[in-house]
Symmetry: C2
Subunit: 329 residues, 2 copies
């Protein structure tokens, strides 16, 4: 294992220290492990997400005006504990309630549910938006039902914009579920990532093998495939998505790197995705290309397609000011 780390046990703590030093505009509670905006919009519903670390910039990098109010990063690939989610919820609540944006993994769902009960006892209303966009497998080693992946970013961005507009708790939760329903993802791994505490790659891939439908923790996908030209891999991913949720109309595409894939490859891959979508007759209305929802040092990519409508497009375009996503004023 060759990593830029101090010790496997200090990876999350060290990264949070660095995050705090790099982003003094955010509040980092190292003890509780909560990252939050210091001044949420008055009266706005709070948005809290969290999950295992190792997917950076998800979720800590999406805290800020126009996106999350607070994030609770767990250990590497490990759900945050209920008390931590409770602390994040308390920080995020201004009296209007808090939406929990939760990727569908058993541990995350359980701990957010427990946190919601604890929050309720403290008078904090919560609603959960479950993200389960990864259409590669139904049920998996870590989930009942589909896994949650790239759509987490999309839900966080769109709900963040809606929350800034003063949208109420129930409406936000309904919107979040709608965004999730309109989103579908598929990932392909070229090289496995290594969890620091484990010290060896999470799975074995031969020199010409890829994992089709891989999860963001390196979970098995549908099958092993052959490392073909990018065009074929991307066609495989888009056809899988299209079979589940027809790619048509205006779409938002997140062409996402798994963490160790350089930008030159991602742009090359995106060229093929863009061409496929155009041939298909759909419109590439918005896009993001880069390492946004990662899996430690896994190499490969995932594609998330969200079918837009006027409301979602407007919310996507609204200003956002976070470490990893920023536009508008």
């Amino acid at each position: 294992m060759k990593k830029l780390i101090n010790t496997p046990g200090s990876v999350v703590e060290d990264a949070l220290r660095g995050f705090a030093a790099a982003h003094p505009e955010l509040r980092v509670d190292a003890e509780q492990r909560v990252v939050s905006r210091p001044q949420p919009s008055a009266g706005a519903v709070g948005l809290v997400s969290g999950g295992g670390s190792g997917h950076e910039p998800l979720h800590v990098g999406y805290v800020g005006p126009g996106m999350l109010t607070a994030a609770a990063p767990g250990d590497v690939y490990t759900a945050p504990v209920p008390d931590q989610v409770l602390a994040a919820s308390a920080v995020a609540d201004s009296g209007a309630g808090v939406v929990h944006i939760v990727k569908n993994y058993t541990g995350d769902v359980l701990n957010f549910r427990l946190a919601a009960e604890l929050a309720e006892e403290q008078g904090i209303q919560t609603e959960m938006v479950l993200v389960d966009d990864d259409i590669a497998v139904e049920d998996s080693t870590a989930t009942a039902g589909r896994r949650g992946t790239g759509a987490a970013l999309v839900v966080e961005k769109l709900l963040g914009a809606a929350a800034e507009e003063g949208t109420d708790l129930q409406t936000l939760a309904t919107l979040g579920r709608r965004v999730n329903e309109r989103s579908a993802s598929f990932g392909i791994a070229l090289l496995a990532g290594t969890v620091p505490a484990v010290g060896r790659p999470g799975f074995d891939l031969g020199p010409t093998e890829v994992e089709l439908g891989v999860g963001i923790h390196g979970e098995p996908g549908r099958e092993r495939g052959r490392l073909t030209p990018a065009r074929e891999l991307i066609t495989t991913a888009l056809e899988a998505i299209d079979a589940e949720q027809r790619i048509e109309g205006d779409v938002l595409v997140l062409f996402n790197g798994a963490g160790a894939t350089p930008l030159i490859e991602l742009y090359g891959g995106f060229a093929e995705a863009s061409a496929w979508i155009q041939t298909r007759g759909a419109t590439l209305a918005r896009c993001l290309v880069g390492n946004y929802v990662t899996s430690l040092d896994q190499a490969g990519f995932s594609i998330t397609v969200t079918t837009l409508d006027d409301e979602l497009t407007r919310l996507w375009d609204a200003p956002v000011q976070t470490p990893a996503l920023r536009w508008g004023r």
Copy 2:
């Protein structure tokens, strides 16, 4: 070699197609291989950079308001040809002249010089700002004198802000040279990157070896070192920089990933850099943490330290709207 590519020969062309699809706000001339802003500020001096591809988002990702007017990406790790730089200069010139920001590699310097002569014949005034911030080695396999690395981003950002203010050609060139003189960099590789057309890693590193002072094309540094905890590697890099250019006062730190290093490791490394600088008595006034000046799929990091003053801080804070760097309005 496991890469998300179509063929080794089409990597740059494919990436530019993807870049064009992702960034319709920029003009991508695929034939000339020039990326430019469609509407540069009237009367402003043009800023052109370029160099081998494989360092993305450098330089194409830094084209836009507040930064470069145009960029000329060469083949992977290969200088752009003179005609290409000329085309970029012609697009960037609004009559006030063009600054060429050139990383100090023999091929780049030669081709930008030839392009400057051709530009002169067309009535386009140019000034060259040579970037040679990498203090690891004096002369190298690809340079006379120091190599240019992370400071290219800093020069591009600061001159971009100054150009927007209407600063003239000579003053901009002088400013650019001043920024370069106040910047120093040092890089460490954990794993070598692979040039697609070559198909194997550019150098060999044992499982516990690192290359201290590595260049952005995988050029040899000062020596092989041992893979130690991040804290020690970062101390080595900062002490090397400090020996050459004392780290004091207000500093801007670019904590940069080599392309395949995930953000969780970069933030962890940045925690150590930040702590070192604080202990040293200097002030971390501004920073960037991420994969900004990469080396294909090389793993590792580099640190660039620029000593700020009031003018440079103001220019750093000025609005910028490019694919890879954006803040302000």
